[in-house]
């Protein structure tokens, strides 16, 4: 068992071996007050964090941070993650905050524990090195227990009966056939209809035998959906002290647009897409009197604890959420849907119940990345400098709203809309849609003014680090050395997102469904590189994941239902889609680290759209790009 959390239970709690597999007994409560570090037996430090590992490297990185300040070897530290009864609430594992916030917090707490001052970055011996990922051996031997691999004593298996429609009310049901199966119990709570059975196969059969009448809600078609986002949107007001301000203004944009030498106006769109983490979600819930214990694979154990406490009308102190590693999350595993379902079924069954979603449920029931409609209006002066910029994002969100460019008059606005879709967080949130619109518009300016896209950007940028990133990328790529044409295009995009400075250069071939990548060069400056190899891995992975949303991904709806239900209906990046990718890091030890898990995903869509324009003269302003 790889996860230290579970290894810990293995040691502390009763464990049974069944047919080679491990069965855990859910521990019931623990009176310990959360601390950050303590000395356990045999010179082992036990450390605690509310962050979780989902493949992004938080376990290794936080362990390195602790090891650095405790002056201990990495192997001497056992990090307990994401158990709400035992760890401090470090906030959800989202927004790339582990490196900029939790690493400093862990270092401070460890230094205080050790009674030493913080180690200066120049003196680091553990941080700044590429320690092997701590979950590596369990990964390659198949021993790592993900949330869907957990089983507990006396556990039963739940399955939810779903309507075909996207949203529907349960009117009536007939469970006669299902209940003929041995050991099957039917549970209804409001519009939730489920079955509980002794094994997963019987649960699936029972659910298929259920006959239910639903009253479906209609859904708008794609065009009507996109129209409705602008029609239902409400203008933002200024909010101070918030992570993602919905309105960022400077100067007088209306006057500046009116007096601009030239103006451009464009609308950009992005489709709703699925996270499609490789592991579908799973949860196990158990009630003991008024206490609820849940095992899950979610990014935000404390948020899910709050959701469950509210849903069942119990105090948070009577809910314990424990996280086992999810097989990918990407912002899609932040809410407690499947945990709530398991808890409803477990309460009715009087036994621990596991609910594991199928891939189809992942597609149909989970929330999606919100679609975006973005209006951009901008102007330049006679010298070709950007002077006015009005940017309106409808529906998709405020992150990444402001441009990195030095524009004297601007208004960046996020207009909240009434979307009929289940939508929520996604890796980098709206920063991908916002950078697509922004970097497309800037590219449109470069071409409209007959300027080179790299030179035009540099002329409008003041941030020295971002300029260096772009210059390095251009040199490595050989920007401007060859002419686009004959189906080949060259494009680039940059971003200053969550304090990271980024640029991506791409070479594309073909258009429409035949569009493909030939080459990519990415440069990133994330401040101090705390774990250089993991930074490269995250940067490359985010860019590859971003190819899907840029080129192919789009959830399809029709009438009252979601049509996209299977991986075979949803094109994702695969081996043969991946061109040669060069990743270059600029390590600035003296500058606080920016997180890296998200921001690079904002680069591929605009870089590819810009390359496509260079090759074909056609400006595509809607994602995905490689559809008919």
């Amino acid at each position: 068992m790889g996860d230290a959390l579970l290894a810990d239970y293995k040691r502390r709690e009763f464990l049974q071996l069944l047919g080679g597999g491990a069965t855990l007994t859910l521990p019931l409560g623990s009176a310990e007050t959360p601390v950050r570090v303590r000395l356990a037996e045999n010179g082992i430090y036990e450390a605690f964090t509310g962050k979780i590992e989902m493949g992004q490297g938080a376990r290794t990185l936080l362990t390195q941070a602790l090891a650095e300040e405790l002056q201990a070897r990495v192997e001497k530290i056992r990090l307990v993650m994401g158990d709400t009864d035992r760890v401090p609430d470090d906030g959800g594992t989202w927004a790339s905050l582990t490196a900029p916030e939790t690493v400093p917090a862990a270092r401070r707490d460890a230094a205080a524990f050790a009674g030493r001052p913080l180690t200066e970055p120049a003196q680091w011996r553990v941080l700044g090195t590429s320690a092997p990922p701590l979950h590596g051996r369990e990964v390659v031997t198949g021993g790592l227990r993900y949330c869907s691999d957990l089983r507990v004593e006396s556990m039963r298996h739940g399955r939810i009966v779903r309507p075909d429609a996207y949203r529907a009310r349960l009117e009536s049901y007939d469970d006669l056939a299902a209940r003929k199966l041995a050991g099957v119990q039917v549970v209804r709570e409001g519009d939730l209809l489920g079955v509980v059975a002794p094994d997963a196969q019987t649960a699936a059969r029972a659910a298929a035998l259920m006959r239910a009448q639903w009253k479906a809600e209609p859904l708008p078609d794609r065009d009507a959906l996109m129209r409705s986002l602008r029609e239902t949107a409400v203008p933002p007001v200024e909010v101070k002290d918030t992570r993602y301000p919905p309105l960022i203004r400077r100067g007088d944009v209306d006057t500046a647009l009116g007096s601009a030498h030239r103006r451009l106006w464009s609308t950009y769109q992005t489709a709703p897409i699925a996270h499609a983490a490789l592991e579908p979600r799973a949860a196990i819930a158990q009630w003991d009197g008024g206490r609820l214990t849940v095992f899950c694979g979610k990014q935000a154990p404390f948020l899910i604890r709050a959701e469950l406490a509210k849903a069942f009308g119990v105090p948070e102190t009577r809910v314990r959420v424990m996280v086992a590693m999810p097989g990918g999350a990407f912002g899609g595993k932040q809410r407690g849907e499947c945990e709530w379902e398991a808890a409803v079924l477990a309460r009715a069954a009087g036994a621990p119940v596991r609910v594991a979603w199928t891939r189809e449920e992942e597609f149909r029931i989970a929330y999606a990345r919100p679609p975006a409609v973005i209006d951009v209006e901008s102007g330049v002066d006679a010298a070709g400098r950007l002077t006015a910029w009005r940017f309106r994002n409808y529906n998709s969100g405020a992150p990444g709203l402001a441009p990195p460019y030095a524009i004297p008059h601007m208004s960046n606005e996020f207009w909240r809309a009434a979307s009929p879709l289940r939508q929520g967080s996604y890796r980098a949130l709206a920063a991908t849609a916002n950078n697509f619109a922004r970097e497309s518009q800037v590219d449109e300016w470069a071409h409209a003014l007959g300027r080179d896209p790299v030179e035009f950007r540099l002329a409008n940028l003041e941030d020295a680090r971002l300029r260096e990133v772009i210059e390095r990328g251009a040199a490595r790529f050989g920007w401007g050395k060859r002419k686009a044409g004959a189906g080949i295009g060259f494009g680039m995009a940059c971003n200053l997102e969550k304090a990271a400075r980024l640029a991506l250069f791409v070479e594309t071939e073909g258009a429409g469904p035949a569009l493909r990548l030939r080459r990519m060069v990415a440069v990133g400056d994330f401040g101090a590189a705390l774990h250089p190899d993991n930074l490269r891995n995250q940067m490359q992975g985010a860019i590859i994941q971003g190819l899907g949303g840029a080129l192919w991904e789009r959830l399809e709806f029709d009438g009252d239902a979601q049509r996209t239900r299977r991986l075979s209906q949803y094109r994702l990046p695969r081996f043969r889609d991946i061109p040669d990718i060069a990743i270059e890091l600029i390590d600035r030890r003296e500058i606080a680290s920016a997180g890296a898990g998200e921001s690079p995903i904002t680069l591929p869509a605009p870089a590819i759209a810009n390359a496509l324009f260079a090759a074909t003269g056609e400006r595509r302003r809607s994602l995905p790009l490689a559809v008919g």
């Binding site: 390659v140 031997t141 198949g142 983490a277 490789l278 990918g328 985010a542």
Partner: protein, 157 residues
């Protein structure tokens, strides 16, 4: 129904629901959860195991069809504590993030190297095209498999 299966060199007798997929038998009845469910329709490769040395998607096989064949799962690739060359190479290249795709990738790569000991990068990509890595570690996986093939060649020397 009762089935006798040969899994990772052990003969197992298991009592399982009729018609069960090999994937579910491995995970739910043999305790071998290293084999993963990702899609159930042959699209992701997370469930790949070796059946008589051939990489097969266990979500598309009934358990009954595996009777009389030798099944190897990720738990059975290493010889005791000694990792398979592909496992070692995945570790050395950190060719994973969440690692959920890794068991299937390793088994498919091991089968590839058995039939083609020196595959090109293109041949590796083609052999693994049916495997998804949502974390986007594809280039690292190709590098790891290439390194494993070199190491195996060096060992054969």
């Amino acid at each position: 129904m009762k089935l006798r299966l040969d899994i990772n060199g052990r003969k197992l007798r298991l009592h399982v629901p009729r018609g069960i997929r090999l994937l579910d038998l491995l995970r739910d009845y043999a305790g071998l959860t290293g084999t993963k469910y990702g899609c159930g329709e042959g699209q992701c490769g997370a469930c790949v195991v070796l059946v008589d040395g051939v990489a097969r998607k266990s979500c598309l096989l009934t358990a009954a069809s595996a009777v009389g064949k030798k099944i190897v799962t990720i738990e059975g690739v290493a010889s005791g504590q000694r990792l398979h060359a592909v496992q070692e190479a995945f570790l050395e290249h950190a060719a994973f993030q969440c690692g959920f795709c890794t068991p299937g990738m390793i088994l498919a790569a091991a089968a590839l190297l058995e039939r083609n000991p020196q595959p090109s990068a293109g041949e590796i990509a083609a052999a693994l095209q049916g495997h998804l890595c949502r974390c986007g570690t594809y280039p690292r996986i190709v590098a790891a498999v290439t390194a494993a093939s070199r190491r195996k060649a060096a060992r054969r020397g």
